[in-house]
Amino acid sequence: MVIPAGTCGQASGANDLIAAAEKEILLCGLDKNIRVRVTGCHGFCEMEPSVLIEPDNTFYPQVKPDDIPRLIKAVLDGKILEDLLLVSEEGKKYYHQNDLPFYQTQVRSILAAHEKIDPLSIANYIENDGYSAIAEVLENGAPEAILAEVKNSNLRGRGGAGFPTGKKWEMLANQSNGSGKYLICNADEGDPGAYMDRSVLEGNPHSIIEGMLLGAYATGATAGVIYVRKEYPLAIKHLELALTQAAEYGLLGDDILGKGFSFNLSLAKGAGAFVCGEETALIRSIEGKMGEPRQRPPFPITKGLYRKPTAINNVETWANIPIIIRQGAKKFTGVGTRNNSGTKIFSLVGKIKNTGLVEVPMGITLKEIIYGIGGGPSAKAKIKAVQTGGPSGGCIPTARFDLAIDYDSLVDAGSIMGSGGMIVMDEHTCMVDVAKYFMAFLKDESCGKCFTCRKGTQRMYELLEDISQGKGTLKHLELLKELAEVVKDTTMCGLGQTASNPVLSTLRYFRDEYLAHIEKQQCPAGVCKALITYSINENCTGCGMCVSVCSEEAISGLRKQRYKIDSDKCIKCGTCKGVCKFEAIEVS
């Protein structure tokens, strides 16, 4: 009985299921017949807390603790509880996890392991082929052979820019090893809305350690640091334990597995700064300084952590390394496209039916992900766009959903791959508001070193704020565009250079929404508060639900009759709309 309990699982109540299952097993003395495995996130977060029964992989979504006793009984009797299965809109029951449309087109070379592995147990990782790649390499392999394998795999860094990992490692290997070289795992995952790195760190921490061991052997690095953001307490806990266990097993430290190879790995915690995901800022943060980026070159590969040669890779990049070494570069390049090999994990969130983590081959189209795996919109409203790449990315409209996703095509479309966040937006999402949101984020997170980034993001935010309040003019649009170009051209690090993307991409694809705000003083999505009013239509049954939740006493009327909203008192918080069961509250 497998229960996923990553942060997302726990937030939806997985701990109660685990407690119920353990209690039942103990009470009935069933510990010889059934075992509970608590794992990291499997990906289908929308359905959590869920239960997976091995070996048939029967999938039970959104299970309640009260159902656990009869579920356990059914498992022991070899039966399936039909009433707890996931049912499609057409009434089709899904028995096995593999039957779910959510999983069918995925290629889960990284995520599938999360089902098999108890992240708190190194023994469990080893049983599942864990550390076999490093053991084999230390026994029979030369560092050059690993380097060649990674190069041949064409693996590109999963942290956003897509730099070829093999090339980076080769540069590090070529640095002289006088007084040490470093490896860093970038687990800062600052893009809001993206959480694949968290899932891997929580669900399979040893795979990162093994990846870094292989990297160290290939490049001659002597020490490494995993830099994790402090917003991920569970990931930190699992990593700390994994590091201790690996050291106990002789897999970290001096003379690893008795083969004369040494590598020390430690953990550094972030302290809440988006820009620290940028490699030079991250290095400064590990050194205990303010996380301000610096001019490159020199690149970290020549002058990095403590001024020593350093290679930085993203969590997902590291997670791919043991897979490549175990299965060989040839098999790895068999998935994905020519210049973009392997799989990529995306976090599919926002206004979509099946939210969760999806791992797909590179080159799949947005449409396949959003409508196939994601199941389309979560509500009645139509999907309008998808935002990729976090604050450095852009919004791609539905008309371009045939786009095959890889590092290069997304840039052409005015966005970037980024670390893999995919935030789906529907007709109730205002694109001016989205641009404003990102600009607010960026102006707060800009470290302030470059004047044009510090002031440029601030000014772009003010312009967007004006537009969202109906105070914008066509001049505002011109200015926005000009500023966006200037900020792009005159800033030092990736934060500033890409800060304009949210503005430029929404201007490019959703200009009419900007114009509606400016010329008609309207917010078509009904989001920008200064431009909307709430009213109650004839659907109202007079149930009084809205009256009871209105904190401003802005709704009045007689029970069983149509209520009215006093627009002078209304603060447009939307609470009434949220509770109305009759779609009687209108925003215009």
């Binding site: 726990q10 937030a11 929308e46 809305g193 917003e231 569970l234 205990g288 939740v549 918080c573």
Partner: protein, 186 residues
Amino acid sequence: MIKDITQSEATEDGITDKQIDALIAKHQTDRNGVIDILEAIQASYGYLPPHALRIVAKKMNRSLVDIYGVATFYQAFSLRPKGKHRIVVCLGTACHVRGAPAIVEEFERQLGIKAGETTPDMKYTLETVNCLGACALGPIVVVDERYYSKVIPTQVRDIINNSHSGDRDTADSHQQQKTIGEAVPS
């Protein structure tokens, strides 16, 4: 006149040099560890008392301005004391498009403070954060390390009330409120 800030002054808030020294000794690494030390101080006192920053600067052989720079650069650090209960609302993109701004506003109204502030009775601090990694279940609110998923504005009052109930089991009165109890280590 500029005060000699390196001089240890009388203790504030009952914090003694010895306590801070102990935290520094525990987290100082051969290289530095300033961020870890500040984190430990923040964890112990809920904020970074000025006195503590002075001691850190002196012990670590760094200027106070340097330590102050680090303390103000990172969002995790606060120079002001925090309330007994810490309410964190996620304003990450996924939570934003699912209505998180309305949740923050409702907390602001109910508590009578703005995000980033602490109630005068020192009971609550309201904070916002850019993504907690549970984006699929947004909007997310975390109160004293207990996670609430898919929060709607009408639940806000209950969440505040639950925060000082001390009794974890009563939290599940509403279907969508789930607890994660011991899940998150600090």
